[in-house]
């Protein structure tokens, strides 16, 4: 599923769209507020769905070869996150949906778990 379709599925605003984002095909996702949990065998190219707002979300994405992050509950995304995302080429989206709603909509649309465990 491409970025535009992900955004449409959860009515998300694309806050920063990385240059290479049109090539991205996302099939899996991981949803957690603890990056410690995201770091556990998340497959490269998955989507991170989180309510955690700090730059370590982008760093976690960078380490895992993840190209897109979806922040939930319409939280304000500080400039420090957007700047790091621009530098690391990570697409940033924001939805008003809750974690449960975002996961449910994406799952219904065919996105599967990005973690094998």
């Amino acid at each position: 599923m491409d970025i535009a379709k992900i955004a449409e599925t959860v009515s998300a605003e694309i806050i920063y769209r990385a240059e290479n984002s049109s090539d991205i095909d996302i099939t899996g996702a991981v949803a957690a507020d603890l990056m410690s949990e995201v770091m556990l065998d998340t497959e490269e190219g998955s989507l991170i769905i989180t309510g955690l707002i700090n730059p370590q979300v982008i760093r976690t994405a960078e380490m895992l070869d993840i190209y897109a992050v979806l922040f939930i509950r319409g939280k304000n995304i500080p400039e420090s996150i957007i700047e790091l995302a621009q530098d690391r080429g990570v697409t940033v989206m924001r939805t008003e949906a809750t974690m449960f709603e975002a996961c449910g909509k994406l799952y219904s649309a065919g996105i599967v778990s990005g973690q094998s465990a």
């Binding site: 507020d33 603890l34 990056m35 410690s36 949990e37 770091m39 556990l40 490269e44 989180t50 955690l52 700090n54 730059p55 370590q56 979300v57 760093r59 976690t60 960078e62 380490m63 895992l64 070869d65 420090s80 790091l84 690391r88």
Partner: protein
């Protein structure tokens, strides 16, 4: 692959800059990318090093990251002068965490860091004692 025999990277892990924690791992990841190392191998190294770097920040009060990249392996040492690990066997258990609530508010401290470092490294040696700081030595094969 570039014609070099080794590459040495050293970074301070600043105890006062949470936003910068992970920068050492990022530098190493970029270098490995440039050297044409397979992405799956780079991901293992980046994940293990980042976990250790975050640990040095949240538990160790900052410290130092040193990475040496050789043609056949990568060696990483993350050291801090923090409070140390009282019971290493316990700390290696999945889910065991001494992290306070503030750390979980930052998105870490699930008690999975050390087990995840072990899973992603080929050799792991942790030298720590209460009050003596912690040295996490990791080796990764490049072949």
């Amino acid at each position: 692959m570039a014609e070099i025999s080794s590459m040495h990277i050293e970074c301070i892990i600043d105890k006062d800059d949470f936003n910068a924690a992970g920068e050492a791992s990022s530098k190493v990841k970029k270098s490995l990318n440039m050297l044409g190392i397979p992405p799956k191998t780079i991901k293992r190294i980046a994940v293990a090093m980042y976990e250790a770097e975050i640990n040095a920040f949240i538990h160790g009060g900052g410290g130092k990251a040193v990475a040496d990249i050789y043609p056949d392996r990568v060696e990483v040492l993350i050291s801090d002068e923090g409070k140390g690990i009282a019971d290493l066997d316990l700390a290696m258990q999945e889910g065991y965490s001494t992290a306070p609530e503030e750390v979980r508010m930052l998105g870490f401290g699930a008690g999975m860091g050390l087990p995840n470092i072990k899973r992603n490294s080929d050799e792991l040696d942790i030298d720590s004692a209460p009050g003596k700081g912690t040295r996490v030595k990791m080796k990764f094969k490049l072949s």
